[in-house]
């Protein structure tokens, strides 16, 4: 790798992680290159010694969470606010009237005294704050040897905000639960949410997978290198991943929605489309099935194939285009009254096909 490639890749990796002060970080590395070249090293050798830009950017995230050792003060008090470093989180329903917090290691609950050193737990009213602190080297090192899992039992009456941020750990929310909104950020770990009802669910993951099952409400799931998998959903879905694939199964989309990837595939199964839907990828394939089409659908990819399955009684204005490959439309020649949904399929080098089901 050359100096130029290294610095460009590093800027990119820092930018997608929304790291602050990128110019200063880049300047440090530019100086490092200058000094090392003067010391007689080649750009290639320097890059190898510095390590991968991804690893450096991950380290920046880790360092930025480390400084947030003071409990974060949130405006809204009715909610669950959790911030963890190198620990897993599990949210589960519980029968008790209050939050039930346990911390486990290898599946065994640990002594509350040990917890106090590493976790600041604050429950006041109907809100819960958990922050993890690494204030001395011994707990820091021991914490890394034994990855812990924070298990939060959520009372059935809870219907507030859930806001979680996890660096190096998994986020799980499993069991019938309600939340006003859910906002989850995971930087290297998987996200799994099952059976949640919420007005708005926002999930971000950098290097892990996002899996959402049997949830109810508007969902936005953004992955970077992991896959996004949404099954048996009720509500609108916006989903994106850069190198992972995205698979969505939902009953209805009635707001403008986007499902996109760069190199991963897109798979969508939808009962009813009531508004505009945009499916886009660069090198992946797109495959969609829509039973009741009342909105416009656009599916575009550059080098992959696009296949659309629509009920045989669908009435639409079909616009299929492939610059260098085959186009096939089983609806061709059907009657087309005015003001009907527009179905646009396009690929630069792949096949484009519409099928009747």
């Amino acid at each position: 790798m050359s100096k130029k490639d290294f610095l460009e890749k590093l800027s990119y990796e820092l930018a997608i992680r929304k790291i602050q002060g990128i110019p200063d970080i880049i300047a440090d590395f530019e100086t490092h290159f200058e000094e090392a070249v003067r010391a007689g090293q080649s750009e290639e050798e320097i890059c190898e010694m510095l390590g991968s830009p991804t690893e450096i950017a991950e380290q920046c995230i880790e360092e930025s969470t480390y400084t947030e050792t003071q409990p974060v003060v949130y405006n809204n008090s009715n909610g669950i606010y959790i911030q963890l470093i190198s620990a897993n989180l599990e949210l589960v329903p519980c029968d008790l009237p209050d939050f039930d917090i346990n911390i486990a290691r290898h599946g065994l609950i640990i002594d509350p005294d040990q917890i106090q050193k590493e976790f600041i737990i604050d429950t006041s009213g109907n809100s819960l704050h958990i922050t993890q602190v690494r204030n001395n080297i011994a707990t820091w090192i021991l914490g890394l040897f034994e990855v812990k899992t924070v298990i939060v039992g959520v009372p059935a009456s809870f219907n507030g905000i859930i806001q979680t941020k996890i660096t190096s750990g998994n986020m799980k929310l499993i069991g019938s639960m309600r939340a006003k909104t859910l906002s989850s950020e995971v930087s290297s770990g998987n996200t799994k949410v099952i059976n949640l009802t919420s007005e708005s669910m926002n999930m971000h993951s950098l290097s892990g997978n996002i899996s959402v099952e049997q949830c109810n409400g508007d969902l936005t799931a953004i992955g970077h290198s992991g896959n996004v998998n949404v099954t048996f959903h009720h509500g609108n879905v916006n989903a994106e991943s850069s190198s992972g694939s995205v698979s969505v199964e939902t009953d209805v989309i009635n707001k403008n929605s986007v499902i996109g990837t760069k190199s991963g595939n897109i798979k969508l199964k939808l009962n009813s489309l009531e508004n505009d839907l945009n499916l886009k990828c660069v090198s992946g394939n797109i495959k969609f099935t829509v039973y009741n089409l009342h909105g416009n659908i656009t599916a575009k990819t550059t080098s992959g194939n696009v296949t659309g399955n629509l009920s045989s009684d669908t009435i639409a204005d079909f616009r299929l285009k492939s610059s260098s490959s085959g186009v096939k439309n089983e609806f061709e020649g059907s009657m087309q009254p005015s003001s009907i949904p527009v179905v646009t399929l396009s690929s630069l080098s792949g096949n484009v096909k519409i099928k009747k089901i």
């Binding site: 690893e55 380290q59 090192i141």
Partner: protein, 110 residues
């Protein structure tokens, strides 16, 4: 798993190494990371984010000084807060490593 633990262990102790080096003498970035990488097998690039964080926490400060024959250099020096943190860390480290050594010694004797 083993590899991850070792990398993490290095990261955890790296801060103490930086503090200790700067306690003896002010250093500029390149010199500092070279010194560390000579002694410990470490991904050099990850030391810069560490330095930035330590600066934000007020453990170290930096100032730019001209160099006679190259780019101007960012020199790091320890603050009082950094000196305090170093004493605390070194004590903890001795306690921690003494414990580990006792365990290892015990296992080897059996």
């Amino acid at each position: 798993m083993g590899v991850i633990m070792i990398t993490q262990l290095k990261k955890g102790t790296l801060e103490m190494c930086v503090l200790s080096i700067l306690d003896k003498e002010d250093q500029y970035g390149y010199e500092l990371v070279t010194l560390i990488s000579r002694e410990v097998e470490v991904t050099v690039g990850t030391i810069y984010p560490l330095l930035n964080r330590m600066k934000k926490e007020g453990l170290i400060e930096s100032e730019t000084r001209d160099s006679p024959d190259g780019p101007s250099r960012k020199y790091y020096h320890l603050t009082d807060k950094g000196r305090e943190a170093l004493t605390k860390s070194v004590n903890e480290w001795h306690r921690f490593s003494a414990g580990i050594n006792r365990i290892l010694g015990g296992l080897f004797n059996e």
